[in-house]
C-alpha cells in the first residue's frame, strides 16, 4: 500500500515537473516573434523615458524568444493614466510593461479614489535606481543654499506637473515640514517643459530626482552665472561628488511629527522608475522578466551606455520592491493623516 502510494506520489511529482518544464518551454515559445511594449507615463526626454529606453534597448537578449521591445509614451496626469492603464486595462500577458510614478502606491494608501489599485496587486519587475529627490534653483535668483531660500522673503516659483509627482509633492512637503515658502506652479507636461520654463525664467526652480536631473539638465548644471541650475538640497546618498556636500532634507526637518511625515512620504523613493506588470500576469512570466531585467542592468554594454549618459544605476529587485510596498501599505495612521493634504478633498458636499 505504502509503496503504491509512494509510486503514485512520484508519478504526481514527475507529472507536475513535466508540466512545469513544458510551461517553461512554453514560456520560451511565448515571447518568440512577439513585441514587448514599455508604456512610459511621462513625456519623451524626461528621466522615466531615458531610463526605460536605455533598458529596453538591451533587455530583449535576456528574454527567451527575444521579443521586439517598443517604448511608448502614454503621457498625462503625472503618469496616473499609465498607472491605471497597467492596473486595469493592459492584458496581463507579460507583453505590456508599465513605467510610472510609484508614488501612486502611497496616494492609494492615503485614500485617493482615482488610483484604482493597491500596490500589492502589481507585478513588480524591478527598478533601475533609487530616488534622490533634489531641489534646485536658478542662478539668477541669487539664492545659493537652502538657508538663503529659507531666509529669502521673495516669492520662489517652483515648476510642477500635478499632485502625486515629485515635482509637486516635494516642494509642498517642504513647505509643510521645513517651512519653506515655495509657490508651486502646476500644469507643466514634464521635466523637459519645466526645464525650458526655468530658462525662460517663468519659474525659478524645480524639484525632481537627481538621477534624472544630472542627465537631462546637464547643460544647465554646467552653465555659468545666472543661467546655472544650482542644487540646494537632496535626500539619500546618490554617491555623486556633485551633490555629496548638499544638506539632507531629513537632517533639516525639526520636530518628530514633521520627520515622520516626511519619512512616510519619502519611502516610495527606495524604488524609482520601477517596471511593473498588470495584476494577474502569470508568475512564470514575471520571473522571466525579473531575471531578464536583473541581467540587463548588469549587461556591460548597458552599463557602458549608462555611464556614457551619466545614468545612475542602483538596481532594486522585484522582491525588494514588494517589501517596500508592504511597508507603504502599513503606513501608520498619524503619518497618513499628516499627509492627507496630498490628496484632493471634495470641496462641496453633495
Amino acid at each position: 500500500m505504502m509503496k503504491r502510494c509512494l509510486t503514485l506520489l512520484t508519478l504526481v511529482v514527475v507529472l507536475a515537473l513535466a508540466a512545469g518544464a513544458s510551461t517553461a518551454a512554453l514560456g520560451e515559445e511565448f515571447y518568440k516573434g512577439k513585441t514587448i511594449r514599455f508604456i512610459v507615463g511621462f513625456s519623451p526626454g524626461g528621466g522615466y523615458d531615458t531610463y526605460t529606453r536605455a533598458a529596453a534597448r538591451h533587455i530583449s537578449k535576456y528574454i527567451p524568444g527575444n521579443p521586439v521591445p517598443i517604448v511608448q509614451n502614454m503621457t498625462g496626469a503625472g503618469s496616473l493614466i499609465a498607472a491605471n492603464y497597467i492596473a486595469k486595462r493592459a492584458k496581463p500577458d507579460g507583453l505590456t510593461v508599465g513605467v510610472w510614478n510609484g508614488a501612486y502606491v502611497l496616494q492609494q494608501v492615503l485614500g485617493d479614489r482615482k488610483v484604482k489599485f493597491r500596490g500589492d496587486q502589481i507585478g513588480w519587475v524591478g527598478a533601475p535606481v533609487k530616488g534622490f529627490p533634489t531641489c534646485a534653483v536658478m542662478g539668477y535668483t541669487g539664492l545659493k543654499r537652502i538657508q538663503d531660500v529659507m531666509k529669502s522673503g521673495k516669492r520662489i516659483k517652483i515648476g510642477a506637473t500635478r499632485a502625486g509627482g515629485t515635482t509637486h509633492d516635494l516642494p509642498v512637503i517642504l513647505n509643510r515640514t521645513l517651512g519653506t515658502n515655495f509657490d508651486v506652479i502646476t500644469g507643466y507636461s514634464g521635466t523637459a517643459t519645466i526645464r525650458i520654463a526655468m530658462q525662460k525664467r517663468e519659474v525659478d526652480g524645480a524639484c525632481w530626482g537627481w538621477e534624472s536631473m544630472s542627465v537631462t539638465a546637464r547643460a544647465m548644471l554646467d552653465a555659468k552665472g545666472d543661467d546655472r541650475l544650482i542644487p540646494i538640497l537632496t535626500h539619500d546618498d546618490a554617491n555623486d561628488p556633485e551633490i555629496k556636500h548638499l544638506p539632507q532634507v531629513a537632517d533639516l526637518i525639526k520636530g518628530e511629527d514633521n520627520l515622520a511625515t516626511f519619512r512616510a512620504w519619502v519611502a516610495q523613493y527606495a524604488f524609482q522608475r520601477p517596471l511593473s506588470l498588470p495584476p494577474g500576469t502569470p508568475k512564470a512570466r514575471l520571473n522571466t522578466l525579473r531575471k531578464a531585467y536583473a541581467a540587463t542592468l548588469k549587461d556591460p554594454q548597458f552599463l557602458a551606455e549608462a555611464k556614457k549618459s551619466k545614468l545612475i544605476i542602483k538596481y532594486v529587485s522585484g522582491p525588494e520592491i514588494e517589501k517596500h510596498v508592504a511597508t507603504l501599505l502599513a503606513t501608520p495612521a498619524k503619518a497618513k493623516e499628516a499627509l492627507q493634504f496630498l490628496v484632493r478633498k471634495k470641496k462641496k458636499k453633495k
Partner: protein, 692 residues
C-alpha cells in the same frame, strides 16, 4: 570663418567622396528608403519606426548614425503627403492638412498636379527649415525662449480662430466646430489635477470610461473625419477617384510650376512651419494647419478652398517639412525634444555620448555635426523628391483605377491607422464614430479643419492658460507678446471682413458699369426637408455644448472647480455659437446662386435611389470590415473581407477577386506582420477557440 568651414565640412561628411562620407551616404539612403515607406503607409508612424531603428546605431560614428535616423525622419512628411492627396487618408498625422485641398484635386483629375505641388513645396520647405536651423544656431536661445506660457495660450487661440474663421459663408459653423474640437480635447483626465472629464462612464461603463481617460486620439479622429467620407463617396459615385481626365493640366510639372508661381506663399508657410517647429511643446500637428489657415487667409478668393485650390496644398506641404529643421533647434540647443521623434533622436545623442547644448554649437566640438544635420535634411529630401518625380505620373494613375479595387485596401488601412494609435480596438471604434460625424459634416457643409485644430491645441491652451494666470495673475494680458498676438488675432478676423466689403463694392461698381455683362444672381428656395435636416444637425452641436455645461454645473464640476473652469470658458461661447448656427439654419429660407461660382468637378448624376442603395451597401461593408477585424483579426480579414467585398459586393470576376485578395494578404501579412512585427491582436474567434 570657422563657422563657414564647419558648414562646408558638414556637407562633405555626408557625400560619397570620402570614406567618412561613403558610410554616411549609404546609411542615409537606407534611412530614406525606410522613411519613404513609413510615410506612405497610414498605419506606421515615423516615431515608432525611429525607435526601432535606434539599436542599429551603436557601432556607427555620429555622422553616420544621424544620417541614418534623420534621413528617415526627414522624408516621412514628404511621402505622407502623397497618400493624403491620392486617397484622402493621411499617410502621417502631420500630413492631414494636405488632404483638404489635395484630395479634391485628385478627384478633379489633377492628382499629378497636386502631387507635383506637394513634393516641390515639401522640398522648398525642407530646405528652408534646414537653413533656418543653420541660421538659428547663433541666436537660438532668444528664439526658443521668446515665448512663455501666456504667449503659448494666445498662440493656440490665434491658431484656432484663424482656422475657424475660414469657413466662408457661415462663420458660426466654423467657430462652433472649433469649439467642439476644444471640447474633445478636454475629454479624459484634466492636465492639472487629473479629474476625469466627459468620460461618459454612465453610458460606456467603467471600461469605456477608462478608455476615454486617455482622451480622444488625434490620429483616429483625423483618419475617421477625412477618410471615411471619401470612401463612402467613392463607393456611391462608383468609377475611379478621379472623376475626369484633364490631360496635361493635371500633370506633375504644372504642380512644380505652381510652387514657383506662388513662391511667396510657399516661403511664408515654410517660415511658419520652422518657427512653430522650434517651439518646444507644440508638436508636429499645428504647423500644417496654421500654414493652411494662412494660405486661405492670404488668398483673395476663399471660396475655392476645400474644393481643390492649389495654395491649400502648397501651404501645408511646405510647413510640415520645414518644421523638421525647426524642431531640431530645441533638441540641439537645450536637449528639450519638441516632438516624440526628436525625443528618440535625443536618445541617439546619448548613445553617441554627445550632450545636447553648447557643445553642439562649438566649432571645436560638434558644430560640424550640427551642420551635417542641416545637410542631411536637405540632401535626403532632394533624393526623395527626385525619386518620386521619376514615378509620379505613374503613381497619379492610381486615381484612375476602379474604386471597387481600392476600397478594401483603404478600409483595412484606415482601421489599421486607428488601431495602431494604442493598439486597441477602442480607437478603431473612434475612427468609425468620427467617420460618421465627418460624413454628416461634409453633407451639411460644416468645415472639418477647425475641429481638428481645436483638438490639437486644446490641452496646450488649457494648461498654459492655467500656468500663465497662476504666475502673472491677470497681468499676463498686458505682456507685449500677448498684445502682439491679440492684434494678429484681430487682424485675422477683420481683414477677411474688409476683403468681403471690397468685393461687394466691386460688384456694385460692376453692376453700374453697363458694358460689363451683369452677373446673374438668382435666389433659390431651400427645400423644406433640407432645412429640417440642416437644422437637426446644427441642433446636435447645441446639445453637445448643453451637455458640457450640464457637466460643469451638475456633473464633475460640482466638486472640481479648477477642472470645470476651462469647460465653462469654452462651453458658454460654444453654446452661443451653436445656437447662432442653429438659428441661421432654421431661418435661412433661400440661398443665392451665382453663375461665376467656382465650378466644382462634374459629379456624374447618380439616381437618388441607386445612390441610397449604394450608400447603405458601403455603410454595411464599412461596419462589416470592422466586425471582421474584431472577429478574426487583421490578417484573416485581409483575406476574407477583401474577397467577399470584391466578389459579393463588387461582383468582380473570380480571377480579379482572387488576385487582389492575394495582393491584400501579401501586403498585410508580408509587410506588417512578417517584416515589421506590428502587434496585431488575435480575433475573438481565435480566442474562443483557444488558438491565441
Amino acid at each position: 570663418m570657422e563657422y563657414l568651414d564647419s558648414f562646408y565640412s558638414g556637407l562633405i561628411n555626408i557625400l560619397p567622396f570620402s570614406t567618412q562620407g561613403q558610410s554616411s551616404f549609404l546609411f542615409m539612403l537606407l534611412g530614406i528608403s525606410i522613411g519613404f515607406v513609413v510615410g506612405l503607409l497610414p498605419g506606421l508612424g515615423g516615431a515608432t519606426t525611429l525607435a526601432l531603428m535606434l539599436p542599429f546605431i551603436y557601432k556607427m560614428d555620429p555622422t553616420t548614425a544621424f544620417a541614418f535616423l534623420l534621413g528617415s525622419n526627414a522624408v516621412t512628411a514628404t511621402t505622407g503627403d502623397i497618400t493624403s492627396v491620392l486617397f484622402g487618408v493621411p499617410g502621417e498625422g502631420i500630413t492631414a492638412a494636405t488632404i483638404v485641398d489635395g484630395h479634391p484635386m485628385a478627384k478633379k483629375g489633377e492628382a499629378g498636379r497636386a502631387l507635383g505641388a506637394a513634393l516641390m513645396s515639401s522640398l522648398v520647405g525642407a530646405v528652408f527649415g534646414a537653413f533656418a536651423l543653420a541660421l538659428a544656431i547663433p541666436l537660438v536661445k532668444p528664439l526658443v525662449l521668446s515665448i512663455g506660457a501666456a504667449e503659448f495660450f494666445m498662440l493656440a487661440i490665434v491658431g484656432i480662430t484663424f482656422v475657424a474663421s475660414l469657413s466662408g459663408r457661415n462663420i458660426f459653423k466654423g467657430l462652433t466646430a472649433g469649439a467642439l474640437g476644444l471640447v474633445l480635447a478636454m475629454v479624459g483626465l484634466d492636465p492639472i489635477e487629473s479629474v476625469p472629464r466627459f468620460t461618459l462612464e454612465p453610458i460606456l461603463g467603467e471600461g469605456g470610461g477608462l478608455f476615454l481617460w486617455d482622451g480622444v486620439a488625434l490620429v483616429a479622429v483625423t483618419v475617421g473625419l477625412f477618410a471615411i467620407p471619401e470612401i463612402v463617396d467613392l463607393a456611391v459615385q462608383e468609377g475611379a477617384i478621379a472623376k475626369q481626365n484633364v490631360g496635361k493640366l493635371g500633370g506633375v510639372w504644372q504642380g512644380v510650376k505652381d510652387t514657383f508661381i506662388h513662391w511667396k506663399l510657399v516661403l511664408r508657410c515654410s517660415a511658419i512651419g520652422a518657427y512653430i517647429g522650434l517651439l518646444p511643446g507644440l508638436g508636429g500637428g499645428p504647423a500644417q494647419w496654421i500654414a493652411y489657415a494662412h494660405a486661405v487667409q492670404s488668398s483673395p478668393d476663399k471660396e475655392r478652398f476645400g474644393k481643390g485650390a492649389i495654395e491649400g496644398v502648397l501651404g501645408p506641404g511646405a510647413a510640415n517639412n520645414s518644421k523638421e529643421g525647426g524642431s531640431l533647434v530645441p533638441t540641439i540647443a537645450f536637449g528639450v525634444p519638441g516632438s516624440v521623434s526628436m525625443a528618440i533622436l535625443l536618445g541617439a545623442f546619448i548613445i553617441q555620448g554627445i550632450v545636447p547644448g553648447p557643445d553642439l554649437l562649438d566649432p571645436d566640438k560638434y558644430l560640424t555635426l550640427t551642420f551635417s544635420f542641416v545637410w542631411i535634411i536637405v540632401v535626403s529630401n532632394i533624393i526623395t523628391v527626385a525619386v518620386c518625380f521619376l514615378f509620379l505620373n505613374q503613381i497619379a494613375k492610381i486615381t484612375f483605377v476602379k474604386g471597387t479595387y481600392l476600397i478594401p485596401f483603404l478600409l483595412l488601412l484606415v482601421y489599421l491607422g486607428g488601431f495602431a494609435v494604442k493598439n486597441s480596438f477602442g480607437d478603431m471604434a473612434m475612427v468609425l464614430l468620427f467617420g460618421t460625424l465627418g460624413w454628416f459634416m461634409v453633407r451639411f457643409d460644416w468645415q472639418r479643419p477647425p475641429l481638428l485644430i481645436g483638438l490639437v491645441l486644446g490641452n496646450i491652451a488649457e494648461s498654459n492658460l492655467f500656468i500663465a494666470s497662476k504666475i502673472y495673475g491677470l497681468s499676463w494680458l498686458i505682456r507685449p507678446g500677448v498684445i502682439l498676438l491679440f492684434l494678429l488675432l484681430l487682424s485675422g478676423i477683420l481683414y477677411p471682413l474688409y476683403q468681403n466689403y471690397r468685393e461687394k463694392q466691386k460688384k456694385i461698381a460692376a453692376r453700374l458699369d453697363a458694358t460689363q455683362k451683369p452677373r446673374s444672381e438668382t435666389t433659390e428656395e431651400i427645400p423644406k426637408r433640407t432645412r429640417l435636416y440642416n437644422s437637426l444637425f446644427a441642433l446636435f452641436f447645441v446639445l453637445i455644448f448643453a451637455y458640457v455645461l450640464r457637466e460643469v454645473f451638475f456633473g464633475f464640476g460640482e466638486d472640481e472647480d479648477r477642472a470645470a473652469l476651462f469647460p465653462l470658458i469654452i462651453g458658454i461661447p460654444g453654446l452661443i455659437l451653436a445656437l447662432s448656427a442653429f438659428g441661421k439654419e432654421v431661418f435661412t429660407t433661400t440661398k443665392v446662386v451665382t453663375d461665376d461660382e467656382v465650378p466644382s468637378w462634374e459629379e456624374p448624376d447618380v439616381e437618388p435611389d441607386v445612390a441610397r442603395q449604394r450608400m447603405i451597401s458601403i455603410i454595411m461593408w464599412t461596419l462589416g470590415f470592422f466586425f471582421s477585424i474584431w472577429f478574426v483579426g487583421f490578417i484573416y480579414s485581409s483575406v476574407i473581407a477583401t474577397f467577399l467585398y470584391l466578389k459579393v459586393g463588387g461582383r468582380e470576376p473570380w480571377l480579379m477577386s482572387i488576385f487582389l485578395t492575394i495582393v491584400a494578404w501579401l501586403f498585410f501579412y508580408g509587410l506588417f506582420d512578417y517584416m515589421l512585427h506590428l502587434p496585431f491582436p488575435d480575433g475573438q474567434l481565435q480566442i474562443w477557440l483557444g488558438w491565441a
